[in-house]
């Protein structure tokens, strides 16, 4: 019974141990992952096959791709796409920030207005909304400012006021604003309540609290989602092609409608989308790093 509790020390006292040889250096054998290697090999074979196909299959028509990749029309279309993205994002997030703070405000009126807006614009399909703006002139030929239901003082020709590009930006921005609002609201809610109490107890003016204390901290959780939205809007601009605006996807369709080279022209558009999305991701990385100031993660 007492065997287990016998201290091993007694043994060493009894037997005089021979001088132990220096312990050999231990070798660590890492865990092997044979299936990983199998998966890598299989993927490599598939990629090689695909790559081989890209190069040897004449159907890709790389000469046509090269000829069109940087032509004037395509470059102009890329520029239009970038403009749509930029203005849609800027206006969309500007409205979104306002909506987010309306939803967070103490005023039941502001809260309901923001809620209703977000509900409406998340419910209406973007394409329907865009077509609606495009056809606004059909519904209201002119807009006038004046007494409600009474005579107007100033009036505008609707299409002249909005314009095709304007209608597209408006449609994208209003749609974007609903999503941006929820992203911004989520970011603001993630900021510790103690931060607001500290700011309030220091008497920092309300707007300044938002700009200096809340938003910079909210940015950390807003940014990844916002980048998603911007990239998705960037590619989503292709939906504007239904309004015959010369953005990238529309222009590509026009060109292959003329020359029938569908595949290489789709590749032209794809390559531009990939290139610019990559650029956006790089920008995202640096912006996120900026807002990580003072954080350990």
């Amino acid at each position: 019974m007492s065997l287990t509790s016998d201290p091993p020390a007694t043994e060493s006292v009894v037997k005089d141990p021979p001088p132990t040889p220096p312990a050999p250096a231990l070798v660590v054998v890492p865990v092997r992952h044979p299936w990983r290697w199998a998966a890598v090999a299989a993927t490599a074979v598939l990629l090689a096959q695909f790559g081989h196909g890209l190069v040897t299959n004449p159907g890709w028509e790389w000469d046509v791709f090269a000829a069109f990749f940087t032509t004037e029309t395509i470059l102009q279309a890329v520029w239009v796409t970038l403009q749509l993205t930029f203005h849609g994002t800027a206006l969309g997030f500007a409205i979104g920030i306002v909506l987010a703070f309306m939803r967070l405000s103490a005023s039941p009126f502001l809260r309901s207005v923001a809620f209703a807006y977000i509900w409406a614009f998340r419910s209406i399909p973007l394409i329907v909304q865009l077509l609606f703006w495009f056809n606004l002139a059909y519904l209201y030929e002119e807009l006038s400012i004046g007494i409600p239901f009474g005579p107007g003082f100033v009036s505008f020709d609707t299409m002249g006021l909005v314009g095709e590009m304007g209608a597209a930006v408006l449609g994208l921005a209003l749609h974007q604003a609903a999503y941006a609002a929820e992203i911004v609201r989520g970011g603001v809610l993630a900021v510790d309540e103690g931060q607001l109490e500290a700011a309030a107890s220091l008497g920092i003016p309300r707007l300044r609290q938002v700009r200096r204390i809340v938003l910079p901290q909210a940015m950390r959780s807003i940014l990844p989602n916002a980048a998603n939205e911007i990239i998705s809007l960037f590619k989503g601009t292709s939906i504007v092609s239904v309004m015959a605006i010369g953005e990238l996807f529309y222009q590509v369709q026009v060109v292959y409608g003329r020359n029938g080279r569908v595949v290489p022209l789709l590749m032209v558009a794809t390559a531009w989308y990939v290139l610019l999305t990559t650029a956006l991701s790089v920008v995202q990385h640096y912006v996120e790093r900026h807002y990580a100031k003072g954080s350990v993660r």
């Binding site: 510790d192 103690g194 931060q195 109490e197 500290a198 700011a199 309030a200 107890s201 220091l202 008497g203 920092i204 003016p205 309300r206 300044r208 200096r212 204390i213 910079p216 901290q217 807002y291 100031k293 003072g294 954080s295 350990v296």
Partner: protein, 266 residues
């Protein structure tokens, strides 16, 4: 509101008296403050003791209107907090006016609540620049001398996460002092700290007490209360059970509940 501003924040600041009159506060069905009356003379240090949930934090938060009272009044230096009186009516102040009142009252939180994305210097300078419209240069110079006062002159450019808890709390105290408040409120300033860091923060607060700023300190540090307090207030279940000089309340409490509480914490 007195408008005394001294160029050097380390020099004596105007101190305020506090009058709390039959303050009541409910959280839903919970009656948290049940008629609190308390007078604090200018320059006095009042330590508030009491078991958890007795309403100490709530009382402190009503003094700078972080918590709105349901009944009664609080006034700091003769000025009502959160309301304006006209005849027999109390008009609620707008948020802007309340924020302005708070610049005369410093608040130090249990969990510091420093702004993590701003450096120590930016944390301290923020309120004087944005709320008091001080020139940034001037505010920064004042902030640096405050940092020296709390023993952190070399940490001006650090971010809060790079500091120990005790250092963060000392920065939070400097941040509150930057507004040159006439009244300082501390809500368990050392409760979130490791035991070996408590001393450095208490030393700073003792220093302030000696400089003659009115202070209300909620704490469980009985030794600190004995040494620094002019008045010790014991609260239980939303009422002030007993108050008086530390020698009386701490060494010969008259109420059973005070005695029971002290026997647990001492």
């Amino acid at each position: 509101m007195s408008s005394v501003t001294t160029a050097d924040p380390a020099a004596g600041t105007a101190t305020a008296k506090v009058e709390i009159r039959s303050v009541h506060k409910h959280f839903g069905p919970l009656h948290v403050l049940r008629g609190i009356d308390l007078d604090i003379r200018a320059g006095e240090v009042t330590v508030v003791l009491g078991p958890s949930g007795s309403g100490k934090s709530t009382l402190l938060r009503t003094v700078n209107h972080l918590e709105k009272v349901d009944g009664g009044t609080v006034s700091v230096d003769g000025v009502l907090v959160g309301y304006r009186r006209s005849g027999n009516k109390l008009y609620e102040l707008r948020e802007r006016e309340i924020l302005k009142q708070r610049t005369r009252i410093g608040f130090v939180f249990q969990n510091f609540h420093l702004f993590p994305h701003l450096t120590v210097l930016e944390n301290i300078v923020e309120a004087p620049v944005s709320a008091l419209k001080r020139p940034r240069k001037e505010a920064e110079a004042a902030a640096r001398s405050l940092l020296e006062r709390v023993g952190l002159a070399d940490k001006a450019e650090a971010y809060p996460k790079q500091l120990s808890g005790g250092q963060q709390q000392r920065v939070a105290i400097a941040r509150a002092l930057a507004l040159e408040p006439g009244l300082l409120l501390f809500d368990e300033p050392t409760s979130a700290l490791d035991p070996e860091l408590v001393g450095e923060v208490l030393d700073v607060i003792k220093d302030l007490a000696a400089s003659g700023t009115t202070m209300i300190v909620v704490t469980h540090e009985i030794g600190f209360a004995r040494e620094v307090a002019d008045t010790v207030v014991f609260m239980d279940e939303g009422r002030i059970v007993e108050q008086g000089p530390p020698a009386e309340v701490l060494d010969s409490p008259r109420h059973e509940r005070t005695r029971a509480f002290l026997s647990k914490v001492l």
